[in-house]
């Protein structure tokens, strides 16, 4: 009786389902190709998912708090462009990186302030700011590609102890935010806000302040991701971040983060990122055309949403 209950609990646990899926997926693909399950390929996958993985951490915090952000792709573009343009114009790397990073944080704080003060729907507000930040990115770059000319390679192109730095950053950001959600009062409030804002308010929680804080955290992770991205690519264009918003939302949802807010974990979202990365890597190795890869990605997202809705306690 208790055992069957525990089993049912596990099957309801989306992180666990995801873990099983990952294992099954790895077994199947590695039986199809000997290139898949090798240390160098797996490190390669981790490096490929580093940027989206870092963004997903912030996005997860936002979604957990009952928010959403579709402007993050253009925030990445703007932030990376600012850094690249400054380096191209002879600014020191440190100043350029701090400026680019700060732009990302400020952009998200703006999102947070508007969303928390106006109580408007986050998806619509960030649809608007998305366009604003895209416009700024185009203004900053003038529409050209800006090369770093070999400067600022550390964050994107170097290894520490044979491990690529982007992977280290990815792991560090995940651990840091995991700890933040677990041990800080702020972390508790993220969940509470997302699960029931009214009850949170009655219980003495400062809704506006905490929402702004949520988007600030998101801005910090987006800024880090932008710096890793620009360093790895070695140049910046005004649309380099396009698409990260959808992939990070998808990864979080696949990872069991409820799109309604209040439920989900950093670990789950991370597994979601890994699954997406492995799928696209496997399809590459198996020589599946990229148009089919889009179809596969879409199918996985739809399945994940169906599974998470079926398991939801809020039906």
């Amino acid at each position: 009786m208790t055992r069957s209950l525990a089993l049912r609990g596990l099957l309801r646990n989306q992180t666990f389902i995801l873990f099983l899926t990952l294992v099954a997926f790895i077994i199947i693909v590695s039986s199809l190709s000997s290139h898949f399950l090798t240390l160098s390929n797996l490190l390669n996958v981790l490096q490929q998912i580093a940027v989206v993985g870092i963004i997903t951490v912030g996005m997860t915090v936002v979604i957990l708090s009952g928010g959403l952000d579709i402007s993050v792709g253009t925030v990445i573009s703007l932030s990376a462009s600012v850094t690249a343009v400054m380096i191209g114009n002879g600014a020191s790397v440190a100043v350029a990186v701090i400026a680019g990073f700060a732009i990302a944080v400020v952009s998200q704080v703006v999102n947070g302030v508007i969303i928390s003060l106006t109580k408007c729907i986050p998806i619509i507000i960030t649809l608007g700011t998305m366009s604003i930040y895209q416009g700024f990115a185009l203004l900053v770059t003038g529409g050209y590609t800006h090369n770093l000319q070999g400067a600022f390679q550390f964050l994107g192109r170097s290894d520490v102890l044979y491990i690529p730095v982007p992977v280290l950053v990815l792991v560090a950001v995940n651990i840091l935010v995991f700890l933040l959600l677990k041990y800080l009062k702020f972390g508790r409030r993220v969940y509470v806000l997302g699960a029931n804002e009214n009850a949170a308010f009655v219980s003495g929680i400062n809704i506006i302040g905490n929402k702004i804080l949520v988007y600030t955290v998101h801005g910090v992770t987006a800024g880090i991701a932008a710096m890793v991205l620009v360093s790895r690519v070695g140049s910046a264009i005004a649309v380099m971040g396009t698409g990260y918003e959808l992939r990070s939302i998808a990864a979080a949802v696949i990872g069991g983060v409820s799109i309604m807010g209040g439920e989900g974990t950093i670990l789950g979202a991370f597994l979601g990122v890994v699954l997406l990365g492995l799928i696209s890597n496997a399809l590459n190795i198996l020589n599946v055309p990229s148009s089919f890869q889009n179809v596969a990605l879409g199918v996985v997202i739809v399945l994940a949403v169906i599974i998470s809705t079926m398991g939801s306690k809020r039906k």
Partner: protein
Amino acid sequence: MSGRPRGARHPVPQKEHVKLLEIRGLTKTFPGVVALENVDFDLSAGEIHCLVGENGAGKSTFIKVLSGALAPDRGTLRLFDAEYQSLTPRQAIDLGVQTVYQESILVGTLTIGENIYLGHENLTRTGFFDVSSTMRRARELMVSLGIGFNPRTVVSELSTAERQIVGIVKALSKDARILVLDEPTASLSSSEKEMLLGLLRTIAAHEVGIIYISHHLEEVFEVGDRITVLKDGRRVSTHEGKTVDRELLIREMVGRDASLFYRREPAEPSANRPKNLRVENYTRKGVVDGITFEVAGGEIFGIGGMVGAGRTELVRLLFGLDTRDAGRLLYDGRDITPSTPLHAIRHGLCLITEDRQKTGLILVRSVKENVSIARLALKAGPFMNLREEDGVVSDIVRQLRIMTPSIRQEVVNLSGGNQQKVVLAKWMLTDADIFLFDEPTRGIDIGSKEEIYRLMTSLASQGRIVIMVSSDMPELTSMSDRVGIMRGGRMVCILERGEISEEAILSHSIGAIQR
């Protein structure tokens, strides 16, 4: 009112009227509550049959069964010579049972005519919406009822009363043979009420049967051909509207065997000097009007009144949840008027809200998180002490005997009573001095009820302030030291200990007795 001879009202049916509805032995239970028990009811064409009773007497459940929203456990409904065990909403409408609720459901951006025929539009031969015939039919229908509205007026321009009337016309447009009205006059002025009651008589004269539900006995006496009293889900009696004795009716609406109820142990006077709470001139325009009263430490102050009298709004204001237009809150002479809940919590207030699922609990999160949330709001610094938290939460869970397999269990999986105890635990950990309870035992089982009463009593005996809004008569009479009665946003009187009775509370609540 009413020095007027009863015979001057609309003509009492002379000829044999068709029986529209016969209900026999209607029973409906919810977990822990019998909402309706063996209720008989009938209605003839052209008759206005009023249904009266306290909050929670079963009126709403009755309407829901009749409109097909709920299936009864037992009993039969005989509608126009056919017998049914239960109805679906579709069936009810097709049979001509139309229900008009307090808040009429109209689309503000459409015209009166469009609203009336919304969902059964007149179409032209080519399948388009036929504006001219719609407007003509709407006008004809309204004229037949003595209403002179222009059907092309946009609904958002209408007053509440006018909307209410359009809602009724809309119901009638679907060939209603039985019209059910649930508190239609709750937000109307007296002249508007007159207009509405006049309309009802006209409708009844068209051989429609009307079931009229109201707290306002005045209206019931004015329009009712017959009056049925419900109490605790049972039909107490059915009277002829002309002959009924008003005092008798009120007695029938209340009156209950008090021995069934929790008896509060007499409070022992606290050793410390009690601190007083003074509520001064609390006002929010259109909702709560100049409320002033004082509660002594160690006292349970009940607030009674009908639904919509402004009671919930008052405690929300006291807690700083809504913005007030005027008012001060003084505790022990100190001004603690809160403007936000956080502010209120810091000053030792807490609010057990009426709707614990919406505003009391984070349903999908754990017992621990729910119990801890307000306590954490008071703590300085960004960190939580998880080990201390586990201890504190486990202690209070044990102390309040919250039945949960673990403090990590999501609150959504607990019973109503245990959920309410989680809310209480949350506030007890903030060391609150002033407890505002809004319907503290709504929807919870008898056992948990008793435990919550015992808790309230012990809070009071520790010298704390307890203010309790309740629609539950026995709860109000047996728990309160004093009861303030609210009506129309004002506190119309405060009953002292010796004066508290169900009759007194009810008659002040509905304004049957002028002081």
